[in-house]
Every structure is written in structure tokens, then in C-alpha cells.
């Protein structure tokens, strides 16, 4: 278990801080891109992010469409089976919600601020 650093540790840590400050001074003029390069990087990163989000949205819509199509076809072929699955899923969802609320409130009691 760590206690407050003792005197010997304080001296050591002060020495370390001084050495690290010297290290920082040596590398003060470290490699840094120019402002223009950062702005170009920002533009490129945001463009790439937007493209990725569009791709993910299209993928999501296609997947959702596929799932809904399968469910509709199944519903038309065997409506009772669908009703049973739907009912069972709803009950399972309610049970999971109720138990996760209990877990969350138990977690809040034990957590530190």
C-alpha cells in the first residue's frame, strides 16, 4: 500500500522532475507539423469520418431491411410461430430490464464518488 512519499522519496522525485524538465528543454523544438498541415489533416479526417458514417448507415439500413423482409415472410408463412416468438421476446426483454435496474442500483450503492 502506498503512503505519502517519505523524505528520501521526495528528494528522489524532485531530482527526477528536474531531469525531466531538462529532457523537455532538449526536445523543445521537437518535430511538429505546420498549422497548414494540421488543417489539411483535419479536413481529410472529417471527410473520411463522414464517408465511414454514410457507409455504416447504408449497411445498417440494408441489414434492417433484410431482417424485416425475413420476418414478414415468416409471418405470412407461419403467423402463430411469429406471435409466440414475439411474445417470448417481450417477456425476456422485460425480465432483463428489471434485473439490470436491480444490478445498476446495487452498483450505485457500492461505487465511490
Amino acid at each position: 500500500m502506498a503512503n505519502k512519499p517519505d523524505k528520501e522519496d521526495e528528494v528522489l522525485l524532485e531530482g527526477l522532475s528536474r531531469d525531466l524538465e531538462r529532457l523537455e528543454r532538449v526536445f523543445d523544438e521537437g518535430p511538429s507539423p505546420s498549422l497548414e498541415e494540421f488543417q489539411l489533416l483535419a479536413a481529410h479526417t472529417l471527410r473520411r469520418k463522414r464517408r465511414r458514417m454514410k457507409y455504416e448507415l447504408v449497411l445498417f439500413m440494408l441489414t434492417a431491411l433484410l431482417i424485416v423482409s425475413i420476418v414478414c415472410m415468416a409471418a405470412m408463412a407461419a403467423p402463430m410461430v411469429l406471435i409466440l416468438i414475439h411474445g417470448a421476446s417481450m417477456l425476456a426483454g422485460i425480465a432483463i430490464l428489471a434485473s439490470s435496474r436491480k444490478l445498476r442500483s446495487a452498483g450505485k450503492k457500492g461505487s465511490h464518488e
Binding site: 500500500m1 502506498a2 512519499p5 528520501e8 522519496d9 528522489l12 522525485l13 531530482g15 527526477l16 522532475s17 531531469d19 525531466l20 531538462r22 529532457l23 523537455e24 528543454r25 532538449v26 526536445f27 523543445d28 521537437g30 518535430p31 511538429s32 507539423p33 505546420s34 498549422l35 497548414e36 494540421f38 488543417q39 489539411l40 489533416l41 483535419a42 479536413a43 479526417t45 472529417l46 469520418k49
Partner: protein, 191 residues
């Protein structure tokens, strides 16, 4: 003194303005923001990695990651703290992925430390036993000591940044300091 405080306050306001604009997609503001913080980020990574090349690579990865996720920055910590949290986690992930190449990594780390030492001595600065000791620590102990005793974060903050319990941070810093003391005594006896 008052002028410096005034300048500092003006800088904070300017930074908040950059952040707000950058979050709205202003690439000029985003560029200004990261240009302003890059040096701090690079020097932080240099200290935790003790490797100029890895520091530079990780700094670049961090900037890109921060740009992609700038919407998630909510101002609960300072921007520099948020940035170095991402940087630290990227570096830890990187070392974890490369654990299979352990022997090569150790040799490469020693080469990097020698390069750092050479750079310092070239500029007339001494490479002390303390710096040597710090470079010899494992990443997790080095990061904990730097964040606590150089950058001044609390154990709780460090735990939040690294995603580990506060107790683990305390034991890592204590162990790291103990190792440093051991190294200094060993070097003292050899001298």
C-alpha cells in the same frame, strides 16, 4: 504577473473557442487547436515511451483519434488531459499488441534510450542515473510515476485515465519509486 495571468486567461478563452468551432466542423479551428497542443503531447509521449520514433507515431495517431472523436469531449477535464488519456491508451494498446515480439522490443527500447541519451548529451545536458532508472521501468510503472509526480494528477484521475482502480495506481507508483531507489543505490555502489 497580472499580465501573465491575463495572457493565460485569454489563451483559455481562445482554446474554448477553437474547441467549440472544431466540434462544429471548422477545420481551421481544429488545426489551431492541435497545433497549440502538439508539443505538449509529443513531450508527454517522449517521457512515457522513452523512444522518439514511437512518441512521434503515437502522437500522430492520437491527433487523428482526437479529431475523429472531438464530439465526445465534454469539458469535464482539460483538453490536454483528455488528449493524453487517449495517447496513453493508444500506447498501452500498441505495447500489448506487440508483446509477442518481446525480445526484439526490449532491444529496440534500449537502442531508443541510447538515442535519447545521445541527443541530450549532444546538447550539453547530462543523462542521469534517474533518467536511466526511469527508462528501465516497465511502461505501466513509468506512466503512473509521470502522471502522479510530474504532471500532478491525483490517483483517482490517473485511475480514470488508465481505466484501472485507484489502488492499482498507488501500488504502481510506489513500486516504481522503490525500483528507482534500488537502481540509484546499485549505481552508487558500482561507482
Amino acid at each position: 504577473m497580472e499580465e501573465k495571468e491575463g495572457d493565460g486567461f485569454a489563451m483559455i478563452l481562445e482554446e474554448e473557442d477553437w474547441i467549440r468551432k472544431a466540434q462544429q466542423g471548422d477545420t481551421n479551428a481544429m488545426g489551431q487547436l492541435f497545433k497549440h497542443h502538439y508539443s505538449f503531447l509529443y513531450k508527454y509521449l517522449l517521457k512515457i515511451t522513452m523512444d522518439q520514433n514511437v512518441a512521434e507515431d503515437t502522437a500522430q495517431d492520437t491527433v487523428i483519434r482526437c479529431m475523429e472523436n472531438l464530439q465526445r469531449y465534454n469539458g469535464t477535464s482539460s483538453f490536454s488531459s483528455w488528449m493524453i488519456t487517449i495517447a496513453t491508451r493508444l500506447y498501452i494498446d500498441r505495447t500489448r499488441k506487440r508483446k509477442r515480439e518481446k525480445r526484439w522490443l526490449e532491444e529496440e527500447h534500449q537502442r531508443s534510450v541510447r538515442r535519447l541519451r545521445w541527443q541530450m548529451e549532444r546538447q550539453g545536458e547530462e543523462w542521469t542515473d534517474l533518467l536511466d532508472g526511469l527508462a528501465g521501468l516497465s511502461e505501466e510503472h513509468r506512466i503512473a510515476i509521470l502522471l502522479k509526480h510530474y504532471y500532478g494528477y491525483s490517483y483517482e484521475e490517473i485511475g480514470g485515465m488508465l481505466g484501472i482502480p485507484e489502488g492499482t495506481v498507488k501500488s504502481r507508483t510506489a513500486y516504481g519509486i522503490k525500483q528507482l531507489r534500488k537502481e540509484l543505490k546499485k549505481d552508487g555502489e558500482q561507482a
